[in-house]
Amino acid sequence: MSGSGQTSKDRSERPDLPEDEGPLAPQAQTQVETSAVDSILDDIDAVLESNAEEFVRNFVQKGGQ
């Protein structure tokens, strides 16, 4: 997990903490879960609206409650 989506660089920047050592850290578990999702990404890609930039620009709402 990373705060507000900003990837933590702690591991790679600290030579005393190699990446392939120790128990499964939360960051590593995230990778496992993400790879499980990976097989569906192509299915998702196939149904995504074609022009993301235009779609996002055009998605304008009035406020509600």
Partner: protein, 513 residues
């Protein structure tokens, strides 16, 4: 009187409201009020339900003007009328507004179509009839798909350009409970509940000024702790008090802080934990803790994907969101007693499972909670080289909530078995057609289902039917707990005519509640 020895339960009258995001593909300047009216009418008109096009005429000629909650008009309910409304019509005329056969209200609220579910008694029922609303929205989209102006609907809360629209919950609460106690008990709970049921959102700030991801889609739009407003200076605890019931006995707590929940396990936990916390407050067993700044805490929690931020307390200490939730869970478990009912036991077990998962590995809840499911999906695309400010990630955020099963990414994940489902299609389809039997919605929905053309007016607390002789008969529904299926027997389905339906139910209602 709720005494301290009464076990708390998730069971209480509750309901949900969804305001759907609306757009015409490729036409950002289409009038959303007109399109919202088209959406409601496209669904209601083929059912023979009268839309509200003649709402004002009817009200002005009728002694029923006080039923202004929602009225169904006499005439001109054909589909063509609303689907071909001129673009330049004054917005005030886009007033489509109906009671559906399932007891819900489907109408235009500001610039969005809104589905207000019928009253139900349990979190499980709340999921079923909320999800029925999603199906109704989907059916509206399909009905308009063949027109020259197709419309898309999204069960979400923001366009990330500054606008937000609500997903509300309603809970009946004892009038004996002091509102200050309700607010004090709910503030720490609501500031942190999002970890259990947030929808997730790409972008930080009302207009996504900063790149990144956050837990709640609504948190950035709240400014006050307690207040009456729902669109400006939004408060964490809303004080609107229209009980739609006997006001001496009940208040309706109108909750505006929630996100649009799609994942059913998260919705079960959202509704169930909130009902339990209200039970704790009503019986004087709520944890006593006060955040130093609940609005700041709300946003801190939403922006902290590590779930480790410490939230300052008024007395000087600090707790994390998960620690606060644990305090509420412990109190609820204690107050539920040795043998809670099955609905309560399920919610307590899920609350525990969610907190344990969030404490150890949040991604383990990707099949349960929207913010986690969406994050897992987005991280998959980020691993392919996309940054948080990439339009494609914003698109995924919006399209997650598309109500169409073949387009909505939530629906794709769920049907692929990657999000847990608690209901069945058969249950949800039935809830599109029929009202819950556990509340007065049984009578309201029954009237719209059996005798749509004879319903002259309806609101949360009354139904007016027109008899064959032209006389109007009002069936009062003074409390959500009256005129349930159990109380009225088979009248709703057995009445041969609208006259019999109206006379027998009006007589039953007249005996008091």
């Amino acid at each position: 009187m709720i005494v301290e020895s009464t076990p708390v339960t998730v069971r209480r009258v509750m309901g949900t409201e969804s305001e759907f995001g609306i757009s015409q593909p490729g036409r950002p300047h289409a009038n959303p009020m007109r399109d919202s009216a088209r959406v409601v009418d496209a669904y209601a008109a083929p059912l023979g339900l009268k839309s509200a096009q003649a709402f004002w005429d009817f009200a002005s000629e009728s002694p029923l003007a006080d039923a202004r909650g929602f009225l169904m008009s006499e005439a001109h309910a054909d589909l063509t009328q609303l689907t071909h409304l001129p673009e330049m019509q004054p917005d005030a005329q886009y007033l489509a507004n109906v009671v559906l056969p399932n007891g819900a209200r489907y109408y235009v609220d500001h610039a969005h179509p809104e589905y207000s579910s019928p009253e139900v008694m349990t979190p499980r029922e709340a999921i079923v009839w909320d999800r029925a609303g999603d199906r109704i929205a989907e059916a509206s989209v399909r009905a308009l798909s063949g027109t020259r102006e197709p419309v898309s609907l999204y069960k979400n809360n923001t366009d990330s350009k500054g606008a937000s629209y609500g997903t509300h919950e309603n809970y009946i609460v004892s009038r004996e409970t002091d509102f200050d106690d309700i607010a004090a008990g709910l503030l720490p709970f609501f500031a942190t509940r999002q970890v259990l049921c947030g929808a997730g959102r790409v972008g930080i700030g009302r207009s996504a000024e900063a790149a990144g991801y956050q837990i709640s889609s609504r948190a950035d739009f709240f400014e006050e702790q307690v207040g009456l407003e729902t669109t400006l200076r939004r408060p964490i605890v809303n004080t609107r008090d229209e009980p739609h019931a006997d006001a001496h006995r009940w208040r309706r707590l109108h909750v505006i802080i929630g996100d649009a929940t799609l994942a059913e396990p998260a919705m079960l936990v959202k509704m169930g934990t909130t009902s339990l916390v209200l039970g704790l407050i009503e019986s004087g067993r709520c944890p006593r803790l006060e955040l130093a700044d609940p609005v700041a805490a709300l946003q801190t929690v939403s922006h902290d994907l590590t779930l480790s931020a410490r939230l300052p307390l008024a007395d000087g200490g600090s707790l994390t969101a998960l620690e606060i939730q644990r305090l509420y869970l412990d109190a609820a478990r204690e107050a539920a007693g040795e043998s809670p009912d099955a609905d309560t036991a399920e919610v307590l077990a899920e609350w525990e499972r969610f907190l344990t998962g969030l404490e150890t590995d949040p991604m383990s809840l990707a099949a349960d909670i929207d913010w986690v499911a969406k994050l897992a999906l987005l991280e998959g695309f980020r691993a392919r080289g996309l940054d948080w400010d990439d339009p494609k990630l914003h698109l995924i955020d919006v399209q997650y909530s598309d109500v169409r099963r073949e387009k909505g990414l939530f629906h794709k994940l769920e049907s692929a078995g990657r999000i847990r489902r608690l209901t069945s299609d058969a249950e949800v389809d039935a809830a599109v057609e029929r009202a819950p039997e556990s509340t007065r919605a049984h009578v309201r929905g029954g009237a719209a289902r059996r005798f749509p053309t004879q319903v002259a007016a309806a609101s949360w607390d009354s139904v007016v039917l027109e008899r064959g002789d032209g006389r109007l008969v009002r069936i009062p529904l003074r409390s959500p707990h009256v005129l349930t299926r159990e109380a009225v027997g088979d009248i709703v389905d057995a009445a041969a005519t609208a006259d019999e339906f109206a006379d027998r139910l009006a007589e039953l209602a007249g005996r008091g509640d």
